[in-house]
Symmetry: C2
Subunit: 370 residues, 2 copies
């Protein structure tokens, strides 16, 4: 009976009830946590001018966006592949006159024309918060805190957070570890892949010790500090220590100062979030500058698929279900729903309470266990 | 300072905080009301094979869908323009073996390449519920009830519901008011536009009295019944009366038996929902047959934009906001958030509680009004 029309394109899928219910509950928990920290939700559209989406931030790959021609303007439109750029646009336009710092959050689907090899999904549910107008240690501490609270609210356990310094190479290359501009890209790349041999070949031998200033935060930050003879990193190191202090026992903190993957547009501070049960990162964040408006900002994004992994996958719905037989009293049923009962009404003689997953049956005005 | 990149394409817009907040709260209320009636939410993807979306139901205009080529399958993909067809597909595939009747609900964005002249929006937030496996009077009564409960939960007042008989002409043409097959389309069209002159010209003079069986339900259904000398509509009229009885005083019921606009795929029963404050319909529903699987079903869809009109537009956020000065006790702040306070933390000396919209300021462990 299955025809081609029953199939979905690769990388796109339905969330059936158990999964959809877990998504909704995790999303509400994350949004409510961000709201409690004063972040106001905005809802940008699914589609924008391609040029606008692509122009607002580095690191957005336009080639992988779904693009099409607008029959009205004859310009190219694109399906959003990242909501952060949309929030940056809102901050610079519709909310340009709102007081700073401006706290905005979002949750919505983003899409790609073609997925990457590691993650076949072409649609992802992205959730995040942006603190616009600040990229200080205080801003970073708050954003890290909001991210951890959001994950905890959703039910993630054993959270770890991995700090990085996205502009580390640029900073050192200008100061204590001079490096020609044309070598920096190669050195960054080899540091990112942790390839000691490649790093030597790329002329970055002096950067080798950075590969070992990684691991549990307290130990790794001491190593990084010891390497920073010239003090070029002093303010960054002090900043990282301050942020780590505010986390307390809510998450395990690690440091990987040369990690750059996923931090194409961040400035001095970046972080990756992990949780028990999820193979990959739950999300990323950091400080950055909004392209176009040049406002400084700090924010993070989470993705629902790894978040669901961290929650142990979809949870079955174990709530009571009250079967309402044909001819039941509608007012009684409405009153029971108002106090929290979930009802399933018979629409024919053949409807079977047990088959429909009901735990109770309405008997007069009384719900009775099946 | 405004550049072209600051603009959004025609028919697409941001929901800024007040509007986004009202949308979120209305959406949660609608989904919770559907959930209380036993409807399980599903989340189909934004994009499917065009052929699959277009093939599953009549009345879906593929020409207005955003379409593009899938680089993987080389088939044409489309952005969904209606989620009902996706729920029909889910019922026929992923949930084919779930017991019937199957209750599913959904909420999500749908998009059009080009809007229609009456409504410039190219993206709409659609919400709805589908009862799959039944299109009886009992099924229709339940679905109407869920729709009204959902609107009331969202805060809509003075709800009215307009009943129609989508297959009225086909039914009469086969029985008491014979009409050649080639004239039916024209007669349907003239009845739909309530054009008495056009109806005569189209050869539908016998159908003229139907134009007057409209208005408040009790009166109009009597008129329709009086017209139905042959009894061809008897079961339909009895059905409508039964459905109307279950509504009670929750909504004003009207009848417009020849209304066909928006009911291209419904069978014997259709309804349109209205509420105070909204110019147009809040949503529509009715009985239908799922194309492909041929299952009978009853459902309805609401749209967020008219729903917001009916709610009087976006509501300002009047909740308390607690300003947390620099150096505040983070544990105290966390405890206050846990009991419902919404906090806004200073990230620099310059942050001003009043300018940031705060109503209170944390003083030691105590929130004090500003």
């Amino acid at each position: 009976m299955t025809s081609q029309d029953d199939l979905l394109p690769v990388g796109l899928e339905d969330a059936l009830p158990a999964r959809a219910r877990t998504i909704t509950s995790a999303m509400r928990a994350v949004l409510d946590a961000m709201d409690a920290h004063g972040y106001d939700r905005v809802r940008p559209p699914l589609v924008e001018f391609e040029h606008s989406l692509a122009g607002r931030m580095d690191g957005v790959a336009t080639r992988r966006m779904v693009r099409f021609t607008d029959p009205d303007s004859l310009r190219t439109l694109a399906l959003r592949s990242d909501m952060t750029v949309q929030v940056g646009r809102i901050a610079a336009t519709g909310m340009a006159s709102a007081p700073r710092p401006l706290r905005l959050c979002y949750a919505g689907d983003v899409a790609l024309l073609r997925a990457d090899q590691l993650d076949p999904a072409r649609q992802r549910l992205q959730l995040g918060a942006e603190l616009i107008g600040a990229d200080s240690v205080a801003a970073a501490s708050e954003v890290v805190s909001v991210a951890i609270d959001a994950l905890r609210a959703a039910g993630v356990t054993n959270i770890s957070i991995d700090f990085t310094l996205p502009d580390l190479v640029d900073t050192l290359a200008e100061t204590s570890l001079p490096l020609d501009a044309d070598k920096r890209a190669a050195v960054r790349r080899e540091l990112d892949t942790k390839d000691a041999g490649g790093l030597r070949e790329a002329g970055g031998e002096a950067y080798l010790p950075l590969l070992y200033a990684t691991g549990l935060f307290d130990d790794a930050i001491d190593k990084l500090s010891a390497l920073d003879a010239g003090g070029a990193l002093a303010s960054r190191i002090e900043g990282l220590r301050a942020i780590a202090t505010t986390i307390g026992d809510r998450a395990r903190v690690t440091l990987d100062p040369t990690e750059r993957h996923g931090f194409e547009y961040q400035s001095w501070f970046g972080f990756t979030l992990y949780g028990e049960g999820a193979r990959g990162a739950l999300g990323r964040g950091g400080t950055y500058t909004i392209k176009g408006s040049n406002e400084s900002a700090t924010g993070f994004s989470l993705y629902m698929d790894p978040l669901l992994d961290a929650l142990g996958g979809p949870e079955a719905d174990t709530r009571d279900r009250l079967f309402l037989p044909l001819g039941h009293d509608r007012d009684v049923a409405a009153r029971l729903r108002a106090v929290g009962w979930r009802t399933v009404a018979a629409v024919s003689d053949g409807d079977d309470a047990a088959a429909l997953g009901c735990s109770h049956r309405l008997d007069g005005a009384e719900p009775r266990p099946l």
